[in-house]
Symmetry: C2
Subunit: 428 residues, 2 copies
């Protein structure tokens, strides 16, 4: 039987970025990517909101996101790879309380010369026709909505076409001689003793064991390293081996609403924030519903990452819930942006976040020849390039990865045993 | 519908200790314990090895275990509650490497005037007829077994009858007016908005929600606080609400071997370690198989907590595996203790550890009127009293719990948000 140097489980954005960077470093390595679906990036990667930002407070998040965004810029501007990057910026809307809490963080960031711009409520009202004041609106108060106090605009942020990024990594990996086998579902990771005795029932617990590949619907695949980059499915593959990755799956839903009316068209093409001349990726104060322009669709994508009591659950085919829009997002959004009154989504989709419940930042570690790359917690697209480089460095046994732009990143900082990440203070 | 002050899910040792201490502090509180089984402590509590030790290196573990053991001593010696406490001690066997690694920890503990006694290999060989040297034993070397270098004996440790402890908490709780409803299986925790609007589909995500009780096979039970102390089942109740507890279940197996032969009887009744005049709870160097005397059965209980690749898995009725004894425990044990040659277990049982995969120490926290008490990671019996007191303090909203012996313990130290536990360096 062929033994690959590495088999990578999952042709989502993390698996492909890892595959590409690994093969890029080791031209001779036999690397195979397997995925149960029939094409790249068709599972939760395809369900992303396709947004990115470079402004994070945590050193870790900033390093991952900023270097990845710079790589994307390089691809598009220098190499002519069209990722449909649009630097629309992010617009964070705060109530008075939220703004007060965020002040020290923003001051701190300003001191590090991060670029951002503040807007007061009257400017926001004028630019966006947003309802900033809920005094006297009993319904809004019953719903716990907060009046808008300030807006903070971050220019180094925007939108990216996820499918184009997926295709870039896939084609580069294939060009380098990597192999991908679609329609291949991994049933389980295979473990054998390092020094087999040839006795039935191995491995026994007094033997030193390691992952030797994967069992799939198309037979076993042997590999020196088994790299699990299966997003929300990672824990389903690791639990049977008693390997903890601290990842749980949670549904995310995105609803697309057409900019049919003049007021919505005006909102979609809001001028004055970024050179793109459209609405930034915008986050409401409370609850933090977010929405982005989807210019090709002449639409807005609306979403909300609900917490308690939204279940942790791995679903094969998660569905958007009509009620989530109707009684959730719509009720809130239409209060802040009356332009959306009576608007129904024309399409919607749902995917799964792979949330790292420790700190919301990725996990990249290895034990017993089993590597895990996951837990990107909803920011996999915007960090994928850095994550792939760190995974490739871990594969090589190097202490530091070199991210795009020659930035060094300590590989063990994203491990579990020697994890060293700063908690993020700029959370959506 | 009746609304209890607290409903406690699980009549295992943690649920009952919590129930007792809660009711002890709040005589007027209406407290109900529910359990799917028909009596107290019948699930994994009953599958414990029934051993305890007070020597831990971590401040947290020591506080929990030592205060609980002192409470048990008080119950038995001062109040005449027969818990069949036996201070047999623990005997840790180390190979040269393991002993070297443990030296700084032992020195540190000696400096804090913890009592322990060292035995060298010749003393151990004489007292226990243990095989201490595997030089020239090819099979042992193939198995990776390590020669015994030293033994460290810890006197403040021993055995306890789990069922007697369970019955103590149960009967005290009932005497204080607490209620227990057996045969009541919790299907899910019920969540409602704090300020219901009476609209179908609530709670919506913009509402502030809380746990209001549990749905069971015998109908809904409402409570101001829902306290989940369901051991290995805790994550199955919390995942549907998106509440992370960092607990995973893992099978543990115990095999009972009769002391049939003279050499085994001699081993069982080994003199000179403790006043009990029997073998201490003993831990082998590598792999760390442990075994204890089961004097009432004229037997030894043998066990091993296997790691990779033992699955994390919640099973309704976990079974001991013949192969685990035959090719696992037996092969190792009979090398160190030839007295066990050809011995078969006369009985065996399996249960589930509820492992906290963060740090192996318990979790006690509350959010949205949902309290979680669990993750004792195989030392639930020996820490249950302290855990119950801390849970009762959390229920009261107090900053500090007072453990038995008037020791203060900061309640938030075992929470998730402000967790503050020292990692344990003395791990079996």
């Amino acid at each position: 039987m062929v033994e690959y140097d590495a088999v990578i489980v999952g042709a989502g954005i993390l698996g492909l970025s890892t595959a590409h960077h690994l093969k890029n470093r080791y031209g001779n390595a036999q690397v195979l990517v397997v995925d149960k679906l029939n094409a790249a990036g068709q599972a939760n990667t395809a369900k992303s909101a396709g947004a990115f930002r470079c402004l994070f407070h945590s050193r870790t998040n900033f390093a991952l996101a900023d270097s990845s965004a710079e790589f994307h810029r390089h691809l598009q501007d220098d190499l002519g790879v069209n990722l449909k990057l649009r630097w629309t910026g992010y617009l964070w809307l705060f109530d008075e309380e939220g703004y007060k809490q965020m002040q020290p963080v923003l001051k701190d960031l300003a001191g590090k010369s991060f670029e951002c711009k503040e807007y007061d409520r009257s400017e926001l009202a004028e630019k966006l026709s947003i309802q900033t004041n809920f005094n006297g609106d009993e319904e809004a108060q019953l719903m716990g909505l907060a009046s808008v106090h300030k807006g903070v605009f971050i220019p180094k942020a925007g939108l990216i076409d996820v499918d184009s990024l997926v295709k870039f990594y896939e084609s580069e990996f294939l060009k380098l001689g990597g192999k991908i086998q679609y329609g291949t579902e991994v049933k389980n990771i295979v473990v054998e003793p390092r020094e087999p005795l040839g006795v039935p029932g191995e491995p026994f617990f007094w033997q030193d064991s390691r992952a030797v590949g994967v069992d799939t619907n198309r037979g076993m695949i042997r590999a020196k390293k088994t790299i699990v980059a299966a997003g929300a499915w990672v824990p389903l593959l690791l639990d049977p081996l008693g390997v903890e990755c601290h990842v749980k799956a949670k549904k995310r839903q995105i609803f697309s609403v057409k900019a049919k009316t003049d007021t919505l068209k005006k909102l979609l093409w809001t001028k004055g924030f970024s050179p793109v001349g459209c609405l930034p990726f915008t986050i409401l104060p409370k609850p933090s519903i977010y929405f982005r322009p989807a210019l090709e669709e002449d639409a807005f994508w609306l979403s909300y990452g609900d917490e308690f009591p939204r279940a942790f659950q791995v679903e094969e085919n998660p569905q958007p819930e009509e009620k989530f829009y109707q009684y959730g997002i719509y009720q809130v959004l239409a209060k802040y942006f009356p332009q959306f009154k009576d608007c129904q989504p024309f399409s919607s989709f749902a995917g799964l976040y792979a949330i790292n419940t420790l700190d919301g930042q990725p996990v990249i570690f290895e034990e017993n020849d089993l590597m895990v790359v996951g837990g990107a917690s909803g920011s996999g697209i915007m960090k994928a390039d850095a994550i792939g480089r760190i995974a490739a460095a871990l594969y090589s046994g190097e202490e530091y990865a070199v991210l795009y732009g020659d930035r060094k990143f300590k590989v063990s900082d994203l491990s579990l045993k020697n994890r060293n990440v700063e908690p993020e203070k700029l959370v959506i």
